[in-house]
Amino acid sequence: MSSPLPAPLRYLLQALAYAAFAAVVGYFSSFPLYRQLGDQEAVLKLSFSHSGQLKFACRERSAQELAKVEPNMRNKMDCPRERAAVLVELDMDGKPLYRVNTAPLGLRMDGAATVYRRLAIPAGAHQFSARLADGPDGVINYSRSVNVNLTPGQVLIIDFLTGSGGFVFTHS
């Protein structure tokens, strides 16, 4: 501890303290800039929510089976709810870029399979091939190839919409 400072010096130190605090707040409020992507990179987002095919076909319950359950629960048809996993493969310029086998959601595995993947890729012209298998046999039943020229920072979105015929490539 030291002797008190003269008032002008105290005020100067106070001003410096406030200025330093303001500088920290003002600077880190916007800086340093965050580099989220390389200068020559674009972004690919593969994302979809798709229900695979039912894993098992419906079958008719036998009379013995029906007799075992309560009368109000005697449904003739047994249709298991479990759905198949969805396999997705994505190639870029003929080389594998991403591959995932996604299980359906839900405790009974009867929900949609969801995929979200963000990838940084080099900007420029590319050929993308996407394939999807949603049946219990794992056979590819949807595929699409497109050529896209991506500028730096551009986002390519690959979605899967059954109503639109399968894969949808979107870029602005």
Partner: protein, 518 residues
């Protein structure tokens, strides 16, 4: 104490000392970090109320709302945006500094556990309030942040729903998103205010607001910052392009670079470990192994004066109906769960005077570890062992430093849990027994480990608070040294006091301004 902790404590002491010199102790912003954070929160809430009135909660209108404010020719819009944004940033920064300082000072254990635990959710609430506010501007920073946060959230195995799909294309977003975010953005600060109320529940005489000079200067600083470095929106949110280099608010958006660096799962783990680690800090063993025994009331000596209730910094003492047949209407009662064992209540008790007859004096409220009779005996013993013409007695606060180093042939040192544990009558008693001067040494001014000790000592000695130092006391033979851990300063205070009493030829000064406070 580890080397790192010691270094940080020294840095804290250095910062406290430097700010003390620039601002004076009572107005030292380093001691008002929590109150300054609250001031910023109030500023953010008030400026947010105005901003909300001007905000359009729609996809098309959100971005324009920000632009309208920043392009307002009167400059009021810029001021509003700046106060709101910089106020939030400052609030977060001050909260983190407040937390760091409390950790360094070990203010998470003992009776402070409640304030500590209830402070932890505030960090999360503040962060959520802040980051959602940045989304409302719906610029390139907002779309980046909301997408990155959605990606982070969906990394939790709680739900298979893909939140980030909501921000894939411009078509997937509707106006309800902004209503929802606005709801969260307004709701969180309200929760923060409620949580802050809980946070300070176990602290008596809590200082919610910083001193006026700090309030004025802080608001002026933020207003100046808002006008000189205006807060500007980036380009309108665009789902089709991302900026390679992006300006982000590091006070709230630090998460996104961290996730990119470590992965969402590891960041969640880190957040959980940090939160849990902070919550478990009160279980750490205390720095010293002295058991803390709560103050104990002796009804036979308690006249129900309520001074201990008024002085207890943690609200541990209350008045209850008498348990004996005394004519006094009430008696003190100590809640041991709230008692910090500081002994300030003993210093406030009118019966804690050493001038009482008999060897086994008992105060109305006592510290079982250091009864008032034992303190008197120690004073008598140590004073009788002193040699030299000018004997000095030092009453040193254990929390500040180990003042035993000041002891020599002419100087006796008595250690107290807190300087305010000492009733003023003890000073006179020491001089009555032959001490030429008495020094009270404790934590830095306004930095009492038990919050209010130095304030009560000052007020008692200046006759502004009961129990008062008698008007006839020889005040020029009393010195206060709020030295903290600075033993050189405490030693210099002893030398100064000895020199003063050595050269004192006239009668004792009988005015209270004569007490030498440093």
């Amino acid at each position: 104490m580890t080397t790192v902790t010691r270094l940080l404590r020294t840095a804290d002491e250095l910062a406290t000392g430097t700010f003390d010199r620039a601002f004076k102790a009572a107005h030292n912003p380093w001691r008002h970090l929590g109150a300054l954070a609250f001031l910023c929160l109030v500023l953010v809430v008030l400026s947010g109320m105005v901003a909300y009135a001007l905000y359009d909660t729609s996809v098309s209108g959100a971005y324009q709302s920000g632009l309208r404010l920043q392009n307002d020719p009167s400059g009021l819009g810029r001021l509003l945006r700046g106060l709101h944004r910089y106020g939030a940033d400052a609030c977060m920064l001050l909260t983190l500094l407040h937390l760091a300082r409390e950790v360094l000072r070990g203010h998470f254990r003992g009776v402070r556990w409640f304030s500590w635990l209830t402070g932890i959710p505030l960090l999360w609430l503040l962060w959520i309030a802040g980051i959602t506010g940045l989304w409302l501007l719906w610029d390139e920073r907002a779309i980046f942040s909301v997408t990155a946060t959605a990606e982070w959230l969906q990394a939790l195995p709680l739900s298979g729903e893909l939140l980030a799909r909501n921000f894939l294309t411009a078509d997937t977003l509707n106006d309800r998103f902004f209503s929802l975010i606005m709801f969260v953005h307004i709701g969180m600060p309200l929760l923060v205010l409620a949580a802050m109320w809980v946070h300070v529940q176990r602290v008596s005489r809590v200082r919610i607001w910083p001193p006026r000079s700090l309030t004025r200067a802080s608001l002026a600083m933020l207003a100046l910052l808002a006008l000189v470095v205006p807060v500007l929106s980036l380009g309108q949110a665009n789902t089709g392009y991302v900026l390679q280099r992006l300006s982000i608010d590091w006070f709230f958006q630090f998460l996104h670079p961290l996730v990119d660096l470590l992965s969402a799962q590891i960041t969640w783990l880190l957040a959980a470990v940090l939160t849990l680690g902070l919550a478990l800090l009160p279980l750490l063993p205390a720095r010293d192994d002295r058991p803390r025994v709560a103050a104990r009331v002796d009804p036979a000596n308690c006249n129900g004066c309520t001074r201990c209730v008024a002085d207890c910094p943690f609200g541990a003492v209350t008045m209850v109906a008498r348990t004996d047949a005394s004519r006094h209407p009430a008696q003190a009662q100590v809640d041991s769960a709230l008692c910090a064992a500081c002994g300030i209540c003993v210093g406030a008790c009118p019966s804690a005077t050493p001038f009482r007859r008999g060897d086994a004096i008992v105060s109305g409220i006592e510290m079982p570890q250091t009864p008032i009779a034992a303190l008197r005996r120690e004073l008598q013993r140590k004073l009788s062992a002193l040699n030299g013409a000018k004997k000095i007695v030092v009453f040193g606060c254990r929390q500040a430093s180990d003042f035993d180093a000041l002891a020599d042939a002419a100087t006796a040192v008595l250690t107290l849990e807190c300087a305010a544990m000492l009733p003023p009558s003890f000073l006179e008693y020491a001089m009555h027994l032959g001490a030429s001067g008495v020094l009270i040494a404790g934590c830095r001014e306004s930095d009492c480990e038990f919050r209010l000790g130095d304030r009560w000592v000052n007020e008692r000695l200046l006759g502004q608070r009961e129990p008062r130092l008698r008007k006839s006391a020889p005040v020029h033979r009393i010195e206060l040294a709020w030295s903290g851990r600075d033993m050189l300063y405490a030693g210099a205070a002893v030398t100064r006091l000895r020199s003063r009493v050595l050269h004192s030829t006239g009668p004792d000064a009988h005015h209270r301004e004569g007490i030498h406070t440093k």
